[in-house]
Symmetry: C3
Subunit: 153 residues, 3 copies
């Protein structure tokens, strides 16, 4: 099944968004698609704010990470004109706005990784990954994730 069809089946509409600063949402080099750090905005407003371990729970963080992935796909669909031109995920780097004691950044990142795996399948939807706890993020969001995808030939 095509990614676009699977998204429809999941009831997910990809958002379209103008960059809010001096950057491009996606830059392509060869087949590699570098996607700028994505936050958890829905309809122009952050779905969550605050640190995981304080204002946000682990579950909030996982949900925020899933939204980051959906926003990344939205940026790719805008750039490529068609989400079905994406072949696979290469890597993700997940930044979790963490209290000094919260140490389950990998479980937060799973919110993004499980979604991409369910959408693209085990082979093409699971990439390399790092997950770290950061001191703060723009707009006090709980999660920001940057991605490298690969385009189909």
């Amino acid at each position: 099944m095509k990614i676009s069809e699977k998204l429809k089946e999941m009831g997910i509409m990809l958002p379209s968004k103008k960059p809010g600063g001096v950057y491009k949402p996606v830059v392509q080099v060869g087949r590699e698609l570098y996607v700028s750090g994505q936050g958890c905005a829905v309809g122009g407003k952050p779905a969550f704010q605050g640190k995981v371990g304080a204002e946000c729970t682990l579950e909030d963080g996982k949900t925020a990470a899933r939204i980051c992935a959906i926003n990344a796909l939205g940026a790719l669909a805008d750039y490529l004109g068609d989400i079905d031109k994406v072949d696979c995920i290469v890597k993700t780097l997940a930044f979790v706005n963490s209290t000094p004691d919260f140490s389950q950044q990998h479980l937060v990142a799973n919110g993004c990784s499980e979604f991409l795996r369910d959408l693209f399948g085990e082979e093409k939807g699971v990439g390399a990954r790092s997950a770290i706890g950061v001191a703060q993020l723009p707009g006090n969001i709980p999660v920001e994730i940057e991605f490298v995808f690969e385009a189909k030939v």
Copy 2:
């Protein structure tokens, strides 16, 4: 206008620097130029020290981010022998030494991004970007930025 001429017009001399540790300032793979994390040193000393939100203001951070970009171009000129061999910026990852409450890392990063845009132009000078708040940086500098540029064929 060539980048080297535009830099002269802007009154900017690119610095030449030996790496201060076990790393190479630039590594090339194909046309991609990976630039090591650059700090805000000027003439061998950090232009700013401390966290943005405490010892450093947003404006200090923006200025420091601009210096990081100039230091990156210095490293590229050393590596390539000629800054005009750089074609465009691919991506930046901006680390802002932040208090737990400072959440305008994207505005700090603009100090770097606006400079590169003004120098290379909107098409080639704006790349993908992530900006995050970190707990500390080497030497207590307020900003460190790593870059991927692309070389001309």
Copy 3:
């Protein structure tokens, strides 16, 4: 001398590990090998826990960073079937779980960089690098490092 022989000479056995989450340890694009963020586990347990500057000393951090590098080589050997298929290191991004005051992340990262330099030699064993202080890491480990290596043709 081959890398596999040099490792034997150094008395280092590369570990084999299943990924502990929804990610692949290594993803290859062309000749580039993206290695997921590696921690300092030895035999399934973290060799160190806590922040550098508090529970962990600089020396602990350096040792942890060296273990991250060994774990990365283990992941590469699993993926490629033979560690001698690795040509060189391209870049590392070192995340150091830091107190707000610890500012020697570059020296912690040297624990990884010096090991790779000693193993692969100055030309192929030294890459681009960034080192930053983060607020926390998965499992409260002191160091996590992500890598890009290059495979032989």
